[in-house]
């Protein structure tokens, strides 16, 4: 039996703390929530999320 993903519904996003991280689908970067992210070379446009250090707490607008 195939696993059916949950249907879209309003979700309450729970904040994550410093002991975590995530991998951004848009940039492909995997970053720690509290630690450093290796900066991209100068001139490379990685978009506004490239410097984000915390995991997102809400869905994209």
């Amino acid at each position: 039996m195939a696993d059916t993903p949950p249907t879209p519904s309003p979700l309450e996003f729970i904040e994550t703390g410093p002991d975590g991280g995530w991998c951004d689908a848009r940039t492909g970067l995997c970053t720690t929530a509290a630690g450093s992210e290796v900066p991209l070379p100068e001139g490379e446009d990685a978009g506004p999320q490239a410097g984000a250090r915390s995991t997102p707490s809400s869905p994209p607008v």
């Binding site: 993903p5 949950p6 979700l11 309450e12 996003f13 729970i14 848009r26 720690t32 290796v38 995991t55």
Partner: protein, 216 residues
């Protein structure tokens, strides 16, 4: 088997280091929950980078090529997650292979058909982050699946076709519809979401909140 009273849906990719760390933390939190017997963990796939070549390369050089960083920076990108993995008692090899994960993710869907999709992905991650240079090899994927009870013939059939490619795309679209922007992405009781890897304490708290919300 009675119906689970709390479902936790997790989206992940095999090569995502935070998915590897998060899987172990979430599994631990579930195992320690007083409601463990009534919680079902479901794995869904999310291909983090479909552009990764199908040929094997190695993580440091892959990051140098993809992000244009120096080899030292590429290693620095790994060290922090490696540190957290080590703190959790997980092996984490920096010089590990990387290749496109679509075949692996399709096999996770095959595993789901046999009720072992989540342990199948976890086994793949253990091989990869544990440093097996043949983590992506066909024989490795067959061995891991067979160990979980997936018939070798079915694994070979999936690898020889594009079976479950649609399922990978469907899973991805479902996560996006729920607000996911990356992985791991965890939905508890269809009410709460954790975007990224949380600490063990936060997963424990999230499970408690979802349980309370569901069972009031």
């Amino acid at each position: 088997m009675t119906s689970p009273r709390l479902t936790i849906d997790v989206w992940a990719d095999v090569l995502c280091p935070w998915c590897y760390v998060g899987e172990h933390r979430l599994s631990t939190a579930v195992a320690r929950s007083p409601h463990a017997a009534d919680i079902e963990l479901k794995i869904h796939t999310w291909q983090l980078d479909p552009d990764v070549p199908t040929e094997i390369s190695w993580i440091p050089e892959y990051r140098v090529r993809k992000f244009g960083v120096t080899p030292a920076q590429a290693r620095a990108m790994e060290r922090e997650v490696a540190g957290q993995a080590a703190a959790d008692g997980l092996p984490y090899v920096l010089d590990r292979p990387v290749r496109n994960t679509l075949d692996m993710l399709r096999l996770v869907h095959l595993g789901n058909e046999h009720g072992v999709g989540r342990p199948y992905m976890a086994a793949m991650q253990d091989e990869l982050f544990g440093g097996n240079p043949d983590a992506f090899a066909r024989d490795t994927l067959i061995r891991l699946g067979v160990n979980l009870g997936v018939p070798a013939g079915e694994i070979r059939c999936v690898l020889a076709t594009d079976r479950y490619a649609d399922a990978v795309r469907t899973d991805h679209a479902a996560a996006v519809a729920l607000g996911a922007r990356g992985v791991p992405f965890t939905v508890l009781g269809n009410s709460f979401a954790v975007s990224g890897t949380a600490s063990l304490a936060q997963y424990t708290d999230a499970i408690d909140r979802a349980w309370e919300h569901t069972h009031g």
